[in-house]
Every structure is written in C-alpha cells, then in structure tokens.
Amino acid sequence: MKNHHCTRRMVLRGLGALVALPWLESLVAAEPGGASAAPPKRLAVLFSGNGFHSKEWWANGEGAGMELGKVLEPLMPLREKLVFIKGLYNHEALTGGIHSAMTGGILSGAKLAPGGSIRSGTSFDQVLAQRLGEATRVPSLVVGCEEIFAGIHKGYSMIYSSQISWSSPSTPTPLEIYPALAFDQLFRTDHAATDVSVLDAVLDDAKRVHGRLGLADRHRLDEYLGSVREVETRIERAAKEGRREGWRPTLDKPDVPRPKDGIPSDLPEYFRLMCDLAVLAFRTDTTRICSLKLNNDHSSQRFPHLKVDYMIHHLLSHSDTADWLKVNQFFMEQSAYIAKKLDQIEEGNGTALDNTMIVHLSSMLTGNHHNQDLPVVLLGGKNAGIAGGRIIDRSGKPERKLCSLYLSLMDCMGVKLDRFGDAQVRLDGLVAG
C-alpha cells in the first residue's frame, strides 16, 4: 500500500508557489539573465500527435549540406540551426496503452496512473517555469489548438492524450485554447485594487476548513491555497513592474491587437495566432517558457485547407499517404514559422532564435503507435552551446532516454538537476563542452 501523503512544501513546490514564500527563497535557482546584459534563454515545446509519415522522417549529412525527409521540408532553410535527434524513447510510454498513455508523460517521463486516476509527473517545461517563472510576468505560456477530450481510452483518461504540460503529478497545467484569453493571460494588467482583499478572504476560508477535512481533501485544498498565494504574488509583483535592470526586451508591449474572442474556424489561422503569441511572449519577455500543443494525440482535426478532408488526423495517421505527408508538413511549418520569426530579431550577439530552444516532437514515430524511437527535432539554442546542422543518433545505444534531452535543455536554461524522469545523464553530444 503506497502512501501518497505529501508535505505542504512538496505541494507548493509542485504548484510553483514556492517563489511566493520567503522561507523557500534559498531554493530558487539563480536567475539567468536577471540583472546581466545578456538576453535570457527561452524554451518552446511544440507537440504534434500521432507521429509522422514513416518514410519521410529522416535526415542526412550536416551543415548546409544537410538533407531532410519530406516531412521536415519546411525546416530546410533553417537546417544550419537544426539538430535532428534520433533514437530517443520514453520507457514508461511503452508499458501502458496507446495514445493517452504515450502522451501524458511525454515531457516528464513519468509513469501514468491508469484506470480512473490521473497522475503523471511535473513536465520539464513546468519545472523550468517553477524555477525561473519569477523573472517574468507569467511563468509559462501553455496553449493548445485542440480541446481536451473528456473520456477514457484503453483504460487511461484521455486528458493524457490532450495534455503535455503538468504543474504537478496531479495537476495538468491549464491549457488555454482561446487565443484571446491566452493574450489576456500574457498582457492583461487590469487587476482591481480589491483583488488582494478578496484573495486574502478566501484564503482564510480555505485555512479554516482545512483541518476539518480528510487527508486527501486537504491535499486538494493545498492546491487551492497555493494557487491563491501565487495569484496574489503575481498581482503584487505586477504593481511593482518596471524595475527591470540590465537586459531589456526588444519589444515593450504587444505590437499586435488582442485576437478576436472564440476559436478561429480556419486551422492555419488558429495555428498562426498561437505561434504569433508565443513569439510575442518571448519578444516582450512576458515569459520564457512556452508549450504549444498543436493537436491531441487522439486528434480529430481536419485539413480542408489542404484539401485533405476525408479523414480526421488520427485516422489519417494510419496510412503513409501523400495527404498524410502534406498534413505533417503543415505541422512542421509551425515550428519553422516561430523559428524564422525569432531568427529575424537581432538580440545580443546573435538572433532571438540563438537564445531560444524550440523542440518539436510527437509521442510516436508513426501512426501505428510505434514509440520505440521518437521523432524529435530541435531548432536554435546556438548561444546555449547547441550547434546546428547536425544529427544526433542514439539508436541502439544504451543511453537514449528522452528525459536526457530534457536534462540537457534545462542545463541550457540554467537549471541544473541531477536527474529527471528516468534519466540521470545528459544527452550526449547535444551541448558543446
């Protein structure tokens, strides 16, 4: 019998609330780029469900001479800033069912609870958000272009196939699917002066009932308490904004209007809006961490704009067709778009892309649920020591864990952990030196 008793500290750390509490300040990692003149490092994770065309996900050669499979064609212009990573896998994703169980732990390597339970692991982007989030107005931007499915598939909640970012093992980071609300999350500052009074009052409510609850419920209420404190801290900090020293972002405030309410019915427009928001968030230094779930692993997206409208994404993935390839390219265009935009921004002694790591991955290599080696491609990160125009092939090697990549990427962001998920070593050859 396992005891899931959690200490209060664990809970609050899980929620990223630790930064609000003075007695935990010593745990806060040194903030890279905080008061220095160098631009900060950033991370964007893009996720596509259901893998890619099995014959067209490959790369050969290096540097400007690099050749890419057709899926990766949109990244050709960026090949010298690209690392094609082959042969990684996520061990726990081999043990459960398909889809949900392959996706819910993709950024954490965690074991997923089956049946009616929901338990994954804190994803590496959220670990970063919790460690670095204090430096920016928003700890992270977690957005998606497909609604979470409510259901259970093959014994696993379908939230797993719809959610890649997790604030704690039991807390999926709320996924914003409305571009306008994502914009608000980043840039809205109209907190009422009375908000803090309200939060103080409800905090008292929660504290009062806390001791009268059972253990499991107390844990749930701790989440509430931590969340209230975090929101309070953010409001208080927003009131003191403008004290930034050293490096300044290239953009002061958004240079585009707030997107329209609702979800665009046109998928390219939807993708584009979310990509623009990620770029905008980075340029304004509103956050340095972003995860963009382009679709679910059980996606029912359709692609009429590509004249591929006879099957939904999930069913398309079961055949290697020309249409499936077109759809794959459309997804890769999104990371190419973000990368190109960032690459046009001069920043420090390079471009914004050189200070940003963009990871694009899926939870299976091909639509037939093959996840023994996963498709991963990385863009940017030159100033973090990642040289582009390369292939890293771990196939058949003993150390080929996906979480090793995350350990390395966290290093690049200035957060050094001994282990993460199932990995204890960095991804060999990714970062120079």
């Binding site: 019998m1 043990t95 259970i152 093959k154 939230i159 999926p172 253990l215 975090e230 006879y310 069913l315």
Partner: protein
C-alpha cells in the same frame, strides 16, 4: 466462511444503523433494492473456496504460466505479479486479482502464443483462488464510501450552479480549461479536478463577471445577463410591461368583450349563485375582480342614466349579444375619455395625466366646416341631428349659420338669403340671373320653431331630433359682382339642445357636405355630443367602470420633443379595478425597482436645470414660469426621497449577500462567516469604495471561496465511515441527478434535517428524476456513457463530403440522444429498452437526416422506428457518426466502441509496427470490410481485431454520419454478417441488438451499473463496490426493473450516503 461473511455483514449493518438509520424503514423501490442487495451479497458469500492459500493455490500456477511476462520486470506491460509471496500480500491488493480474474475468465490470458499451455483444470483452480480472494475482500469492505477526492465544480456544474444562483445563463465556464475525465470516465470525478494559479485567476475573473451583473434593488439584488445598467433599466421596464400584459392589451386598454360575453354566457348561473364568479373567471381566464365589479354594476340598482341604458341593453341581449354591447361601451368610452399627447411641456412626461375625462356631451358648441372651391357652382351642407342611445325626443337649435371668408366680413346665411331674394325682385324680369344665387333651406325655416311654430331668432334654424336640415347655396354667394370667388370659406354654426325636451336626450350633431347615413345611433360615434345638464352629470359612474385605458402602456413617454419625466406611471384604473392586494404590491415593487435602477429621481433633478434653460430659450410666459416652479419643487423632493431610499437599501443588500452566500455555498452561512463578509464590506467602504463597488467585491469573494468552487464535505473524526450531513447529501443528490446545485425544496429539507430519512430521500430522488433538470444527468452521465460527450461542439466531418452535416444537425442529433436518455430514466425503462427501443425522438432535421417521412413540429416521439432503421442507442446518429472517420466509416472504431465502451471488455495494447491501411476504399479497390479483414489477418493484429471488427461490420449499414446506406439495384448487397471468435454469428444491427440482449447482456448491464455508480459517487469503482455493482447488475438484467430504480438503489447505498472518517489514510489503488 459463511459465518464470517454474515458476521461481517451484520456488523456493518449495525454500524449503519447507529450512524443514522440508513437501513431502516425502507419503502417501495428502496425496500426492494435493499432486499436484493442482501440477496446478492448472500449469493456471493455462498462461493466455497477450494484453495485459500496463495502459496498452495496460486503461486505454482502463476510461476508456470504468468511470470514470464508479468515477472519482476514486466515485458511491455506494467503488471508485476512476482512481488506477491503470500496470501496476506495478495489480499492487500484485491484490485490486481480482480483484473487477473477477469483476464482468466475471459480466456484472454495466458495468451495462446505463450510458451506453456494452461490446462482447463489449472485455469479453473486459479480462477477459484482469485475469485475467493476478490469476493472475500469485496465483502469485507462492502459499502465503504471509498476514497472520494474533494470535488471541484466541473465546467458544466459551474455554469448550472451559477444559473440556479442568478437565474441567468452566463456560460462563463467556456473560458475554463476542459475537465479531464477520470474515475469511470466522467468529468465530475475528484481525481480529475486539480487547481492551479491560472485556473484560480479564471475563477476570480468569472466571479467578478457575475458580480458585475448584480442589479441592486431597494429590497436586495438580483442578477442580469448584462453588465450594463442601461439593460437593467430595460429589463425593469420589460418586467412592468409583462405585468401589464397580464391585464391589458398593448395599448393599455381593458378589452371588455370577453367579460360581457362571460356575463351573458353565465347569466343564469350567476343569478342563482354569484359566488360562482370565481370559478367562471378562472374557467374563462378573466380577471376575477373586474368580472365581479362588472356583474354587480349590471345587476345592481339603478345608478345613472348611461349605466341604466347599458343594463337595459344587457338584459335584453341574447347569449351572443356581447359584440353589440361592447360597441356601445366602446363608443361611449371613446367620447367620455381623452388621451393626451406626449411632450410639448404640457403632455405626458411633464407631470400631466395621459388619460383624462373628456367633457362628454356639452350644452353648446360651435361647429365649423371648411368649404373649398370646387367645380360645382352650388354647395350643399347638411345639418344632421342624430339621437344617441334610447329613443328620446329633443329639439336642436342651429344658431346663426354663417360663412366666414378671409378678408371679408362674416355673412349670416339668413341675410344672404334675404338679400338675394330682394335683389332678384329688383332685377328686370326678362334678364335671367347668370347663376342661381338662391339659398334654399329644406327641413326648416329661418326664424321659425318646428314644434311650437313660435318665432325664433330670425337668423337661426331649429329642427326635431332625429332630423336633418339641408342647406344649398352658391359658392360665390355674397361676393360682390365681378370679383373673383374667394379661395376658401368656412361654414360656421352654433349648435345646442333646447331646454324643455327629454332631459336625458343626447344629440350627436353632424355638419357635413353629405347627408348623414343614419339619424339614430346606438352609441356615440367619434365627435361632438350635445345634451342637457343632467346627462353630463350622469357620466361619471360609467367612466369609472369603463376607462379608455387602464394604464399608460408606453411607460417611457417617448417623443420627438424633450420630456422631463423618464418614466410615467399611470395605472389608477388598473389598480382600482383589477388588482388584488398581492398584485398591487407586486406592481409597486416592480415600479420601485425601475425607479431604483434607473435612478430617475436623481437624474431628473440633475437635468431639470438644463431642461428649464432649454424650454425657456424663447422665453417663458408668466403662466409657464409659475408652472415651472410648481414642477421643480416636487422634483427636488423626489430626489431627496430617493437619496433616503438609497441609503436605506444598503443594509438590505448585505442581507441579500448573506442569502446569496448560503445559496452559493449550498449550506447555511455560519455566524463567523457572516461577520467576515460584513467586515470585508466595511473595510472596503473605509477604503473609499462606494457601496456599489464594495458589495460587488463581496459577491465576487463569495464566488471565489472554496465553499463555492468545491463540494466540501466535513468528515467525522476517526476512521469509521459516517453519514454525510443533510446539506452535503442535498448536494450529492443534486449534482448526481441535475449536475447542479440543490433547489429550494432540497434546501428546505436539509435545513429541517429530514433529507436523510429513507422515505424523504427516495421521494426526493423520484421528484428530481421527473424534473427537467435531469438533463444534467443525461448530458454528463448519459452522453459520456455512450461516448458522445460534447458531440454538438465537434466538427470532425468533411463539409465537402457531408454538406448537410452542419452545426444545427449536430445539435439536433445531440438533443435526440439526450432526450432518449432522459426518457429512459424518467419513464423508468429497463436497460434492455436502451438497446431495443422501437421509438425515436426527432425534430424536422433529425427526421430528414434519418429519412423519416414525418415532419414533426418541434420534437416528437415517433413509434415503429425500426421501419426507418432506428431505435435504441446503436442507431443513434450521434454514436454512429462519432465512431467513424471524417468521410468514411470505421468498423474498427464502432467495434471497439461496442467492446470497450458498452461492454467494458478491456483489450490489450495493439502491437508495435501495425501495418498501415491503404488510403481509401476506392484506391485499393477493396471494400472497407475486405481491407480491414486483410489487415486483421496479420496474426499480431488478429488477437484483438477478431474481437472488435465483427461488431463494427454489423453496423456497416450506416454511413459515416449515421445515415442508412443507400443501396442501388446494381450495387452488391452489403455484407453485415459478424462472426465472433467463439463462433457466435449474427447479422446487422438487429443481430447486434439480439447479441447485446442475449449473450452480452450481463456485460452490458455490469458496465452500465459500474459507470452509473462511478458517476454518482465521483470516483473509480473499488473492490468494496463489487457487491453493490453485482446487485445492481442483477437488477438491470430483469425486465421489470427500470433504470430509475437503479438510481434509487444507488442513492440509498452507503457509498452514496456516507463518507470515510477524517483520519483514514487513502489507500493507493
């Protein structure tokens, strides 16, 4: 073994009894439930173990057949059976063995390709051992309320709770992240309900949105769908208009005819018994008060001449005489009342009444008739004296008929007649006049009285009434010779009724170019009336009974000119004639709301200065100045009174706040919480916040509290389960059956502390099932059970291939699904009907989609649905379309839906490197069936696919959007046959129905039982729920027990009614 089980059972029943009498005095369905619950438990207990010990009964077999894959390092799975070394360890994790048991019984495991082959005897031995363990453990824990994690409101629950609280549908949860499904597959499970700063910020925003929509009123506050005060004012006006509409027509008039008709129709009955008036008013849907007043007036003693006239007419009228009587009344009320125009300083909107008594008949009046030059050289003018009402004799005098012409002196017609005569005499006989210049009078003579023959003023005429006088004269009369005819002339005459005739006679004088059509009128036509003084005095009783309008319908005196008052209330006749005490209070309240919301007293005072400046731009005359001063004083006083109303309403808002908090928190507000709320409010006021702002902040604080966002239940100390209190029970019920908060009745019972009583609980559950709010269960449980949750919001079909499959059709198909589920529960139908129902709910869209010729208006239940290939869940368009691709069907998806979703059969994970499918049906030159069959022949695939695909094949008669496939005469027939791995064969949807209600019936029932119970209690089914699930399953298999009874059984179960002790450390499952 038996003894042990029963001892345990008895113990647990004892515990229940002491904890709140959960098992006492059951009645009806609940009694039956309990009985079969115990029967099922006893049956389970009867299983006699062959081998109890792990080491002897299980370990050797596990080692031989299982541990190769399920050892310490499981191969492509996560089940490690090697960690069990003794019986105690095995007993600690009964869920593991329940899974093992399931796989063994279904012969899924060990797999056929395993290195060793398990013999039937070995399998039986292992099954017996596992079954004994599982069932023993299940019984020993039976009824455990289980680990229910603190539940937050799901998105749907949040919206429904806010709707119940505010009365408006705000749909705020749309901005929240989607809830994940957990437990048995539902979004109401505590397990899936985490909290985070982002979500909290969203809750805080939503709470502020609600608070912004609070509409402050003098006696509390309500909520509006809008956050604009302009809209609140409009809503207040609309509320008054809606009230008005209950009594008057859109013009504000009381429509008399139905009342008259009722008095005629029921004349005899009412004469015999005037107490029958209540019944008649009710039956005829008339206002009781007015009907009674009217009846009394029609049957009372003589009162005034006009009412007496009416009475006479009414007495003589037949049962269908209401039209004529109404015309009489309408004619009269139009002439004794007048309505004033709006604006212009003097009309409505300037403290002037809209409706006022017209003088009615007058003694004398000057009548004018404009005559324009025409082709005719001679002009006719008819002076008609029409009598009105009863036949009475009178004489009318037409004094001094004359012609007024611009630029000329007024000429009396009598003089002109005389002078023309004189002039004619002077002219030489042989010279003919150029035109006929004579004035002719027929019906009377100037200067002569028609009755007495006595002389009259020589320039005047007189005639009997009814009677008519015709005058004829040349247009150019009186114009000097040679001058052009004048442009326009006016015929003028003074008319009056002579004294001395019948004092009640009433004359309607008409001066016109045409003769009057009738000289006797039953009731006045619009226009002038002449009468003697007695008539004039006798009009008031009629006026009181028949006002022209009972209220000022526009409320807003809208006009092009500026008005001072924003809203005019004029409804004295309504209040006096039609409203009882409650209605008067209601109307007063509605008006007080409008005044309060619009703050018109304040704004009128503020703007009055500007207004006076505006209106006196051209300078006011002295009369206007006096009036202006008279107006400004009451306006100022009104503003002062309103300031007092405002400050007096503040404490009432705080009382309302506490009430809203109690409703929002779904329990009474404790004194301390009340004090805290008030303290917050006071603190905000001290920080210079207005009352309005501070109150709104307090409202948002109520809705950000964990007491609102979570379904907090306080457990008892210790580790024993105990019943939840009645407030928590009310919420458990309402969120189970309605996905919303408890209503007033549940709150009343919770406050009285009687809700937990068996009979009360059962009665409430029944009431709630019958309530339309059961929609909550239909969508949150039913749609998820069928795997079509949120179907209406998806867009996963190709618009090119299926142009008809639009958002509206989706919404209709979803509605059909929910109606079907509601009907199952509300009609308490056996579960089998969900499969073999021979009816379908359809609106026009669904009917068209399904090819049903009927064109239902709205929603209709159509019988013999099987004629159209419909009936039951298998033929629901929503289900068939969900389990299909964007443009083609997917027998695999449909088959999987039957196997996993409906029957709850777990399937192993598909193998890696499944071969891909060819693109489309046509491209490979194969049918979908052939394609899939080929795919499934791969041995790696066939393990599962031979279990899944046949079910999907049987549904291939339906296309990807759930229509019956059209089969042309040249098309090959559809192959809908299915062969299951065990050799069972069936064909098409009918065959599948028979299969589900035959061999698969128990699985179908058990899955339904599990899911409904899991939904009800918000968690996964535990081993301790097995006896209840089995008991529910047994009932679901009967054809005389409906699903509503299953709901009652769940509601009465300890799982539903109790909560684990506070100090239980949740076991991991």
């Amino acid at each position: 073994m038996m003894t042990t089980v029963f001892t345990r059972l008895a113990r647990s029943a004892d515990a229940e009894r002491t904890q709140g009498g959960a098992f006492r005095d059951r009645t009806g369905a609940i009694a039956a439930t309990t009985l079969w619950f115990f029967a099922a438990v006893a049956q389970l207990a009867a299983v006699e173990p062959a081998a109890v010990d792990f080491r002897a009964g299980a370990a050797p077999l596990l080692g031989r057949h299982c541990l190769e894959c399920h050892g310490a390092k499981p191969v492509r799975n996560d089940l490690n059976l090697a960690r069990f070394t003794n019986q105690a360890q095995a007993q600690a994790e009964p869920l593991v063995w329940a899974k093992v048991l399931e796989q063994l019984e279904a012969k899924e495991m060990p797999p056929a390709k395993a290195a060793t082959t398990i013999s039937d005897g070995e399998r039986a031995q292992l099954i017996t051992w596992a079954k004994t363990l599982v069932e023993t453990e299940a019984l020993s824990r039976a009824g455990d309320p289980g680990p229910v994690k603190l539940r937050r409101l799901s998105k749907v629950e949040y919206d429904r709770t806010v709707r119940e609280l505010t009365g408006v549908d705000l749909g705020l949860a749309k901005a929240f992240p989607a809830d994940g499904a957990a437990g048995e597959g539902f979004t109401n499970t505590g397990e899936g309900m985490s909290m985070s700063p982002v979500l909290l910020a969203k809750y805080s925003d939503a709470a502020k949105q609600v608070a912004r929509r609070a509409v402050l009123l003098p006696d509390g506050f309500r909520f509006s769908a809008s956050d604009q005060s302009r809209d609140w004012t409009d809503e207040a006006i609309a509320a008054i208009r809606a009230f008005h509409a209950r009594f008057a027509n859109p013009a504000g008039e009381l429509v008399v005819e139905p009342y008259i008709a009722a008095t005629l129709r029921h004349r005899e009955r009412l004469r015999a018994d005037d107490k029958a008036i209540d019944d008649i008013a009710k039956a005829e849907k008339l206002n009781r008060r007015y009907l009674a007043t009217l009846w009394k007036a029609l049957n009372g003693p003589p009162s005034s001449w006009l009412l007496d006239d009416l009475k006479t007419t009414w007495r003589q009228a037949g049962p269908d005489g209401s039209k004529a009587i109404t015309a009489f009344i309408d004619g009269w009320r139009n002439s004794v009342w007048k309505l004033c125009a709006t604006g212009d300083m003097v009309g409505v909107g300037h403290f002037n009444p809209w409706q006022s008594p017209a003088p009615g008949p007058v003694l004398k009046e000057t009548i004018r008739l404009v005559i324009k030059p025409g082709k005719e050289p001679r002009i006719s003018v008819h002076l008609a004296a029409q009598t009105v009402g009863s036949e009475r004799k009178a004489t009318i005098r037409w004094e001094r008929p004359r012609l007024e012409t611009k630029g000329q002196e007024t000429a009396l017609l009598a003089d002109l007649a005389k002078s023309d005569k004189a002039r004619a005499a002077e002219l030489p006989e042989q010279a003919p006049p150029p035109i006929d210049r004579s004035v002719t009078v027929s019906g009377a003579e100037f200067g002569i009285h028609p009755r007495s023959g006595q002389p009259l003023d020589p320039s005047s005429l007189a005639s009997a009434a009814p009677g008519t006088i015709a005058l004829e004269f040349p247009y150019a009369i009186g114009t000097p010779e040679g001058k052009p005819a004048p442009g326009e002339r006016t015929f003028v005459v003074d008319a009056l009724v002579e004294d001395g005739a019948d004092p009640l006679s009433i004359i309607q004088p008409v001066v016109a170019r045409e003769p009057a059509k009738s000289l006797r009128l039953a009731q006045p036509a619009p226009g002038l009336l002449l009468a003697g003084p007695q008539v004039v005095a006798g009009l008031n009783p009629f006026r009181e009974l028949f006002p022209k309008a009972v209220l000022y319908a526009p409320i807003v005196p809208n006009d092009t000119t500026i008005t001072l008052q924003l809203f005019c209330r004029e409804d004295e006749p309504l209040v006096r004639l039609m409203l009882d005490g409650n209605e008067r209070a209601e109307l007063d309240r509605l008006w007080s709301h409008l005044r309060y919301i619009s703050r018109d007293a304040e704004s009128m005072y503020k703007s009055s200065e500007v207004w006076f400046g505006f209106t006196s731009q051209g300078g006011m005359n002295s009369r206007e100045m006096i009036w202006a001063k008279q107006v400004i004083i009451p306006i100022r006083e009104g503003a002062e009174r309103f300031a007092k109303v405002l400050s007096e309403s503040e404490p009432k808002h705080l009382e309302s706040l506490i009430e809203v908090a109690a409703k929002a928190w779904r329990r009474p507000v404790e004194n301390r919480e009340r004090d805290d709320l008030i303290k917050l409010y006071r603190g905000l006021r001290q920080r210079e916040q207005s009352h309005d702002a501070a109150l709104r902040t307090c409202i948002s604080r109520v809705l950000t509290s964990p007491a609102f966002l979570y379904r907090i239940e306080i457990p008892a100390a210790g580790t024993s389960p105990a019943p939840v209190d009645d407030w928590a029970l009310a919420s458990r019920l309402s969120y189970f059956l309605w996905a919303g908060p408890p209503d007033a009745e549940l709150r009343t019972l919770a406050a009285a502390g009687t809700l937990h009583e068996d009979a009360v609980l059962a009665a409430q559950a029944k009431r709630m099932i019958a309530d339309p709010r059961l929609r909550g269960l239909a969508s949150e449980f039913g749609a998820a059970w069928l795997g079509v949750y949120g179907f209406d919001l998806r867009s996963d079909k190709s618009e090119t291939v299926f142009p008809t499959f639009d958002a509206q059709l989706r919404a209709s198909l979803y509605e059909e699904t929910l109606r079907f589920i509601e009907d199952l529960f509300q009609q308490d139908r056996p579960l089998a009907r969900s499969v073999d129902a021979d009816w379908v709910f359809a609106d026009e869209r669904v009917a068209k989609h399904y090819g049903i010729p009927a064109k239902p208006a709205g929603w209709q239940r159509i019988e013999q649905a099987s004629k159209f290939g419909r009936g039951g869940i298998l033929a629901l368009g929503s289900v068939l379309a969900t389990q299909a691709g964007a443009s083609r069907t997917s027998p695999i998806l449909r088959g999987n839906w039957v196997v996993e979703h409906l029957l709850g059969t777990p399937l192993p994970r598909p193998p890696p490197n499944v071969p891909v499918l060819p693109e489309t049906e046509s491209s490979a030159g194969m049918s979908m069936r052939e394609m899939i069959t080929r795919h499934s022949q791969d041995p790696a695939c066939s393990v599962c696919h031979r279990k899944i695909d046949p079910f999907g094949f049987s549904l291939e008669g339906y296309d990807a959007i759930g229509r019956l496939r059209a089969i042309g005469p040249k098309d090959p027939p559809l192959d809908l046959s299915a062969t299951l791995p065990d050799g069972t064969r069936f064909t098409g949807i009918d065959g599948l129905r028979k299969h589900l209600l035959g061999p698969a019936r128990e699985r179908l029932a058990r899955t339904f039982a599990r899911k409904l119970l899991g939904y009800a209690i918000g968690r996964s089914i535990e081993i301790s729920d097995r006896p209840l699930v089995e008991a529910l399953t047994a009932q679901l298999l009967r054809d005389d027990v409906g699903v509503a009874s299953i709901v009652l059984a769940i509601v009465s179960s300890p799982q539903f009614r109790t909560i684990r002790g506070r100090d239980v450390v949740a076991a991991a499952h």
